[in-house]
């Protein structure tokens, strides 16, 4: 579970890192990813892996299109406008999903359903192994991408100063579309990985709220931070469910979020500087 939080948080972090925007529709993109994959696997009978790739590709394209058509128009407006915009978009996605796929609850069959591995005395089901492996691989890939590849560094430049990056010959608009595509793709991956564990319904996107906690805990804008934050939130939920009274489990993530914001707003790995005038 923690890894899923980490994955969704990764999506937040990517967009924040590159554009300093916060995407409140991230959870809904996750839901779209899960639904698209379900549609390919169950309705059209395509193999799991192909459907996985298709779902991620479609949602990534969708993310890029979203940036190109809608979000680019509000660049240069207050941050608040983007928050509202993505909230509105998220509501639209949920509504779209409930009209297209109905409000029933689905389960996604996968090649690794109902198989378990014994790992040092603990039996772990393959679905969870898939989540953990997927998350770690993805995280490492993205970290390497941002640190070593030319495009990744260009993205960082664009995130630090849009105008300066533009003067340096970086195609800032294309960078933004790309980052939205990657982020939406990550959300879709998280959705598809999550689908066999939890069930698919239109409220899947609300996991995005807990992923916020993960992103903030790790420090907005830090890729490893998102993963660590996600795992931490997952563990906190697990333990508070086991040792604390009923109901605490559901809000533990938010309590942690508030505490982190109040005590150390930059999170564990974050970098927040004071604004210069």
């Amino acid at each position: 579970m923690g890894c899923i939080y980490g994955l969704v948080a990764l999506g937040f972090v990517l967009i924040y890192k590159a554009t300093e925007l916060v995407n409140f529709a991230q959870g809904d993109l996750l839901m779209l990813g899960a639904f698209v994959c379900y549609m390919f696997v169950v309705w059209y009978g395509i193999g799991y892996w192909v459907a996985f790739a298709l779902a991620v590709g479609i949602v990534a394209l969708f993310g890029a299109a979203l940036d190109g058509t809608v979000l680019r128009r509000v660049i240069g407006q207050p941050q608040f406008a983007v928050v509202m915009l993505t909230i509105g978009l998220g509501a639209m996605f949920r509504s779209f999903a409930s009209i297209t796929w109905g409000s029933e609850i689905y389960t996604l069959p996968t090649p690794f359903s109902a198989k378990t591995t014994r790992l040092g005395g603990v039996s772990v089901s393959h679905e969870y192994v898939a989540i953990i492996v997927g998350t770690v691989v993805l995280c490492a890939l993205l970290y390497a991408f941002f640190t070593y590849s030319r495009v990744g560094v260009a993205m960082q430049a664009a995130s630090q100063n849009q105008l300066a990056a533009y003067y340096m010959g970086i195609p800032v608009k294309r960078m933004f579309s790309l980052i939205w595509a990657i982020s939406a793709g990550v959300a879709a991956i998280a959705g598809v990985l999550l689908a066999p564990v939890s069930l698919i319904d239109i409220n899947l996107g609300f996991i995005g709220l807990k992923a916020f906690a993960a992103a903030v805990l790790g420090g907005f804008g830090s890729i490893p931070g998102a993963l660590v934050g996600g795992v931490t939130i997952g563990l906190i939920e697990l333990f508070s469910g086991a040792y604390l009274p009923l109901g605490v489990k559901d809000v533990a993530a938010y309590v942690v979020l508030l505490l982190v914001l109040a005590l150390r707003p930059q999170g564990m790995f974050g970098t927040v500087g004071r604004k210069k005038v």
């Binding site: 240069g76 915009l85 509504s95 630090q160 100063n161 109901g247 005038v277």
Partner: protein, 380 residues
């Protein structure tokens, strides 16, 4: 164009700009008082507009004037509603005392949220208030002695000083009175030093600080004032819906409040009321449209033939009867407003006014906002 010649300080200090404006507002008040005679069928919906107007006012002070965007205002509404019902029905306090206590408790919680919020800026604050609202919703569910948890608790009709406000008409006037009171109070606070300080904080924290505005004090005050108004609105809201349950005060309600201030126009008291009217009346419009639109489309398609008309009728009817459609429409409206009219209904109204008062000389650039390209505040 009309010019105002001010001949004394009293003209400058008045709540209204000139006698003409005062007469306009007087006329508006008279119209609203006479409204129950004209549209008796929609009285309950219009009372909801007034309650939402109070909520919009509350969020407008915080988001529109102080620049602190909160996604947790449904929680304050809930605190006000539950506290009011608890004091009124469990402790048997008089109505006015219960409302005052509800507003006070809500304001106190607002201070509690505001204190850590002082360290946060922008999106972080929004996220924090969101988390706060989710926690409070869980508290409503679990704290059964007071809130009765998921079972919900019924709310009696209001009785003030022995006068019953049970009928729709009486409740309409109660809501109207509270809204007008709230507007009057807020308009006065906003043109006092406090309000000026809030606006200064919104426009630039650093500039405000260097002009001697105590950031922590004024931000906390904004939170307290906003939460207090919300608490009073919550008391009325409890009577309006007549039954309290935790899932009413969800994040979706907070989003609706935010929709209200954005659609109405950030940074104007008019906007809060316009937005409230819009958000409260939209479900009414949608439900009416649900009945009408299939028939229209059916008639339009019937030109092609009888079967086409019937088929179109059924298809459209099935589409508009989808339960998930309504939030989607809300989302769409929000997106369209942000993209095409960031100043909201009030902004559009101002543009129309300016167009006519400067008739042949209207320039679009009058309202154009300067774009600022992002520069990171993360230093590395």
């Amino acid at each position: 164009m009309r010019f105002q010649f001010k001949t004394g300080y009293d003209d400058d200090m008045g709540l209204f700009r000139d006698p003409v404006q005062r007469r306009w507002y007087g006329g508006l008040l008279a119209a609203v008082v006479l409204l129950p005679l004209v549209v008796p069928a929609y009285l309950t919906d219009i009372s909801l507009v007034f309650i939402y107007g109070l909520c919009g006012l509350s969020l407008m002070v915080l988001a529109g004037y102080t620049g602190l965007v909160s996604l947790g205002h449904a929680a304050f509404l809930g605190i006000g509603a539950y506290a009011h019902v608890y004091f009124l029905q469990d402790l048997g306090l008089p109505w006015v005392a219960a409302v005052a206590l509800a507003a006070a408790i809500s304001a106190a919680v607002g201070v509690l949220v505001g204190l850590p919020a002082l360290r946060m800026t922008g999106v972080y604050l929004t996220i924090a208030t969101l988390a706060f609202a989710l926690i409070i919703q869980e508290v409503f569910t679990r704290w059964e002695p007071v809130t009765h948890g998921l079972k919900g608790r019924p709310v009696d009709k209001p009785v003030i000083f022995g006068v019953s406000f049970a009928s729709d008409g009486a409740f309409y006037f109660l809501c109207l009175a509270v809204l007008v009171g709230g507007l009057w109070l807020t308009a006065n606070v906003l043109r006092a030093p406090t309000g000026r300080a809030w606006v200064a904080i919104r426009d630039s924290e650093i500039a405000a600080q260097s002009m001697g505005v105590h950031l922590a004090r004024y931000k906390t005050m904004a939170f307290a004032y906003s939460a207090g108004l919300m608490g009073a609105a919550g008391a009325l809201f409890a009577h309006k819906i007549g039954f309290l349950a935790p899932d009413i005060f969800s994040v979706l309600l907070s989003i609706q409040f935010l929709l209200m201030v954005v659609v109405g126009g950030l940074g104007s008291l008019h906007g809060a009321v316009y937005g409230a009217a819009f958000v409260a009346m939209l479900p009414v419009l949608i439900s009416e449209a649900r009945d009408l639109v299939p028939a229209w489309v059916g008639q339009a398609a019937a030109v092609l033939g009888k079967d086409a008309g019937a088929a179109a009728y059924l298809a459209v009817e099935r589409f508009v009867k989808q339960p998930g459609l309504e939030p989607g429409i809300f989302g769409l409206i929000l997106v369209l407003f942000i993209l095409f009219e960031p100043l909201g209904i009030y902004g559009r109204w101002r543009k129309v006014q300016v167009f006519f008062s400067t008739f042949p000389l209207y320039k679009r650039a009058t309202f154009r906002r300067q774009k600022t390209y992002m520069r990171s505040e993360r230093l590395r």
